[in-house]
């Protein structure tokens, strides 16, 4: 809203099991730890069977009105049906993050910024094939400008609990890969 305040909204969508709910919670949780207002809301119900799953996160310095967002500022998309469903809803000028390894068709809108990255490949490269979500998340955080790397690391260990130091490490590696990618990739205007 006004200059100094923070407000951002993002929808993350893909198949169930791709870890989108998790990175949504990670975003919200890390931001909460920073003292920000956050909401996270999942899609729910039987449409999850075989279809797409998604969640919406809002981060704000002020109390949050609706956790349900018609036109999010960013979009993370991990499969074709999700691109179909959500591309039209992205705010004009918004950021679209694509896992290019799974999303096989290009975005059609021209009034948005698309960051496409080979998240699966990157995940395999860092040694955890299930961490494609963290790769995309890295890119998102890098471009979103709300969280620092430390925020995310703190958030991760908060969510994982003490015992999972190794898990933390590989996930942060994937995150870093995403960050790097986002910084390098030219955003298509």
């Amino acid at each position: 809203m006004n200059g100094k305040s923070i407000y951002t909204s993002v929808i993350m969508a893909g198949f169930g099991g791709q870890g989108l709910m998790f990175i949504g919670k990670l975003l919200a949780y890390s931001a909460m730890k920073r003292g920000l207002h956050v909401t996270w809301i999942p899609s729910y119900g039987p449409e999850m069977r075989g279809g797409t799953a998604n969640c919406t996160v809002v981060v704000s310095s002020e109390p949050i009105g609706s956790p349900v967002i018609q036109k999010p500022e960013s979009l993370i998309v991990m499969n074709n049906p999700s691109l179909e469903a959500f591309e039209p809803r992205l705010k004009a000028g918004g950021l679209l993050f694509l896992n290019a390894d799974l999303v096989t068709r290009p975005a059609t809108r021209t009034d948005i910024n698309v960051i496409a990255l080979p998240a699966n490949d990157e995940a395999v490269r860092v040694g955890e094939h299930r961490a494609a979500n963290m790769v995309v998340f890295g890119a998102y955080v890098a471009r979103g400008g709300i969280l620092s790397r430390d925020d995310v690391a703190a958030g991760l260990s908060g969510l994982f609990g003490e015992k999972a130091a190794s898990k933390l490490e590989v996930n942060m590696k994937a995150f870093d890969a995403g960050v790097k990618y986002a910084q390098a990739a030219p955003a298509r205007a």
Binding site: P46, E47, R49, G50, G51
Partner: protein, 255 residues
């Protein structure tokens, strides 16, 4: 290929009573198999244009999107009452309900028992997948002792949650039902037998026999947190001993 095709005839295809639609069921779900069996029987008995089905509330709530027949959507558990009301008004039409174990054995057990006790002249297909599929895998009345579900996270404890209900055996204590059988769709072999039972139930109904009932042991890979392969194995290993297959009740006269 072309010449080959000419020499081949199609010996297995989608039944007419099933629409050419992708279902919303998870990979390896027993609902899909059972749907096809019911549809095949409808085709074979030539009743697609007369039969009326009643869908439950459960994973199969949308089955009217898949069957190309007239259908009701019931409220959770009340399919037998709806089938009763309909069949009383149209005794000339064949009628069936299709119900999950939460639907039939939990919230709807009263309606099931009383439709059976009255000998209502419809057929019930009862999908026993030992869980509430649709709502995310909670404990069902048919959940096995020790089975982990969303509401029995450490396994069903018989001390606090009791024992699974054997619906066939319970209904068999009633005088009116004419046919009660338990089958499985865990392998192709069992699928063949399942179809025979379903066909027999419908045929008996067409002959005017009262209440016919087929329980189908059916995998739910998603809420069992298993692969489809693991699910059918688990089913045969664990559900078979608790739920013995076979005809629990059948008319003396063969069909």
């Amino acid at each position: 290929m072309n010449t080959e095709a000419q020499e081949m005839e199609r010996i297995f295809e989608r039944p007419r009573a099933l629409r050419s639609a992708t279902t919303h069921y998870c990979p390896g779900c027993g609902h899909g198999i059972t749907h096809r069996l019911v549809a095949e029987v409808i085709d074979e008995l030539g009743i697609r244009e007369t039969i009326v089905g009643v869908a439950p509330v459960g994973c199969s709530v949308l089955m009217y999107n898949y069957f190309d027949i007239d259908m009701f959507e019931a409220s959770h558990g009340r399919a037998p009452a709806i089938a009763t009301g309909f069949k009383r008004a149209r005794p000339d039409l064949p009628v069936f309900t299709y119900q999950g174990d939460g639907d039939l054995a939990a919230i709807g057990i009263a309606e099931t028992i009383h439709a059976a006790a009255r000998g209502e002249k419809f057929t019930t297909i009862f999908i026993n997948n030992a869980t509430y599929g649709m709502t995310g895998g909670q404990m069902a009345p048919t959940t096995l002792v020790g089975q982990k579900t969303a509401t029995s996270p450490t396994g069903r404890n018989c001390e606090t949650a009791g024992y699974p209900i054997k619906v066939c055996e319970m209904l068999a204590t009633l005088d009116a039902p004419s046919y009660i059988a338990r089958v499985s769709v865990s392998s192709a072999k069992h699928v063949l037998k399942a179809k025979q039972a379903i066909s027999k139930a419908f045929q008996l109904q067409l002959k005017g026999f009262p209440y016919t009932f087929v329980e189908v042991l059916s995998p739910c890979p998603t809420d069992w947190h298993m692969t489809p392969q693991e699910a059918v194995e688990w089913l045969e290993e664990n559900m078979f001993p608790q739920y013995p297959l076979g005809e629990v009740k059948a008319p003396k006269e063969g069909v």
